[in-house]
Amino acid sequence: MPNALSTFFILTIDGVSYGMMLFLISVGLTITLGVMRVVNLTHSAFAMIGGFIALWLMQTTGMHFFAALPLSVVATMAISLAMERTLYQWVYKSNPLGQLLMTIGMTFVITALVKNLAGPQIQTITLPPSLIGQLSFGDMSISTYRLFVLGTSVAVAAALWLCLEYTTFGARLRAAVDNPRMARCVGINVALVFSVTFAIGCGLAALGGAVGTQMLPLEPYYGLKYLVLVLIVVAVGGLGSLKGSLYSALLLGFIDTMGRYYIPALGGFIIYLAVLAILLVRPRGLVGRAG
């Protein structure tokens, strides 16, 4: 018999795993928006690309889920790198409004391409048997899949943090962010650092998109449908702050899950109410920087 407390605990796990998946999908946008100053409305489309590549690999080659995941991440990174080196070079020169329109244009093109290639239906990736079922802890049972999402995201977040704090690349990126001109002067190839960062961000989105299909199912309009969600995670976190993105993704995932369970009548409304309240109190987000 699940009592109120264990229900709350299970919801917390659900909320946190949902939040961590949101973090994966949106963390790349935090970098492009806050660091490279590009309004990249195509970002959530990269999550969709990752999901569809994983799905395609599993369906056509019969590849295992755990093999398809890293492959789809690498493929998405390659695609995003190609786009960064060509289309985004135009975007950089434009103003925010131009960037917004151009990247929404890219989303339209990707949406149409995916619809032509994969069909208009909503799809989810079939989970391998090892991820189906529940793990029991005393009188509580928690979905294995949720724990997997949680574990993957925490591992990725930790790796990201370690990479930023303790590697040369991380130091270069931080330098390029804080003062691009100075970074260039000391011999850092800022454009290259940004390109690589952009590709990594898109790769993470792809991972989130592929892992999270049980929560955000795949469809051609994915890139537009969940764009708002991804944007508000970044805005609430504070543009350019990785830590902020983590906090806001967790908070919003938690609020959304709790809200939908305890106040079902309000459904998806609660999360937006929370967003507005947070942004009213802290217009620059939870961990906002000046400027």
Binding site: V109, L266, L276, P283
Partner: protein, 328 residues
């Protein structure tokens, strides 16, 4: 002699209000539609409604520099307000328009408080958050808005008690055109008056305008509220002419579409918004009938090319090429 002075009078008035050839072409287009486009009047009314909506965004964005990724919020509020008014209070259309304008204006006034405190990216996110909030609110408050099904089954009385809405959409089109004309004239006055001029100054350099003693925040707030009210009028018109209001009137897609219209036409010059709306609605109607999926791809490519090669929109492109030619 007499005709000459009459002519000067007309030309003088024309110049004073800064009307130009583009405005004449638009009026001519409306009249031609009425004469030759009898089978397309419903579509033409849609064009006019979207033109009003794009104008409202042009006021906020093209003139005031307030970036909005959620302008559908005001269109939707106006539409729902007008439909609810027609359902529960009165089916008189003109007062319905006013109700739509006031409701949307209030929404602009309130959300402007939050939105205008920020700039750039945060501002975009806030406008998006406001629109998403209203969308979810309309989705959740099913007892008032009917949720997914939308509001239908309300009557709209003849305009001014004289002109009954007909199945061909004749009255609807003329009604929308008259409203567009009034809105356009109002905006023309507004952007050439001191508020419009200072707004452009604020767009270019906020700090400088503040130094000059312009109450920047209050000016922008007023501008944003007016813009919201006009978007509300467009929404109310849509509710009255189409006899249905659904969640799509608050959707992100609509916000994105109106941005595209303005970008197509060219922001900051009023008629650009109208041209953009005409082009966008007509093209997407045709293309959606033929192949909606590939139309989306074409639209995307067009957007990318516009930003790359014609950042001021088509109006900017035209005036640049015309300017080049006359300079030669």
């Amino acid at each position: 002699m007499n005709t000459q002075s009459n002519r000067n009078l007309v030309v003088g008035a024309f110049r004073r209000q800064r009307y130009n050839l583009a405005d004449v072409a638009l009026v001519a287009a409306a009249i031609l539609t009425l004469i030759f486009g009898e089978y397309y009047l419903a579509l033409a009314a849609m064009v006019v409604i979207m033109a009003i909506f794009a104008l409202s965004l042009d006021l906020a964005q093209g003139y005031g520099g307030v970036e909005s990724l959620g302008h559908a919020a005001f269109f939707g509020v106006g539409a729902y307000a007008a439909a609810l008014y027609a359902l529960h209070v009165s089916s008189e259309p003109i007062s319905g328009l006013l109700v739509g304008a006031i409701a949307a204006g209030l929404a602009g006034l309130l959300s402007g408080f939050a939105v205008l405190r920020t700039q750039g990216l945060t501002q975009l996110m806030l406008t998006l958050a406001v629109a998403s909030l209203l969308y979810e609110l309309a989705n959740v408050a099913k007892s008032v808005t009917n949720g997914d099904d939308g509001l239908t089954g309300y009557d709209v009385d003849p305009v001014l008690g004289l002109f009954q809405f007909d199945i061909f959409g004749f009255t609807g089109f003329v009604y929308a055109c008259v409203v567009l004309l009034l809105v356009y004239a109002l905006l023309k006055k507004l952007v050439n008056a001191s508020i419009g001029q200072t707004a452009q100054g604020i767009r270019e350099n906020q700090t400088r305008m503040r130094m000059l003693g312009v109450p920047v925040e209050r000016r922008l707030w007023l501008l944003y509220t007016i813009s919201a009210a006009i978007a509300g009028i467009a929404g109310a018109l849509s509710a009255q002419i189409n006899r249905i209001v659904g969640l799509d009137s608050l959707a992100f897609t609509l916000s994105a579409n109106v941005l595209v219209m303005l970008a197509l036409g060219g922001p900051g010059r009023l008629y650009g918004a109208i041209f953009g709306a005409i082009l966008f609605v007509l093209l997407s109607d045709r293309a959606a009938a033929i192949d909606p999926t590939n139309w989306l791809a074409v639209l995307g490519v067009v957007l990318i090319l516009i930003v790359r090669y014609a950042p001021d929109g088509l109006a900017g492109l035209v005036s640049r090429t015309v300017g080049k030619r006359s300079a030669k």
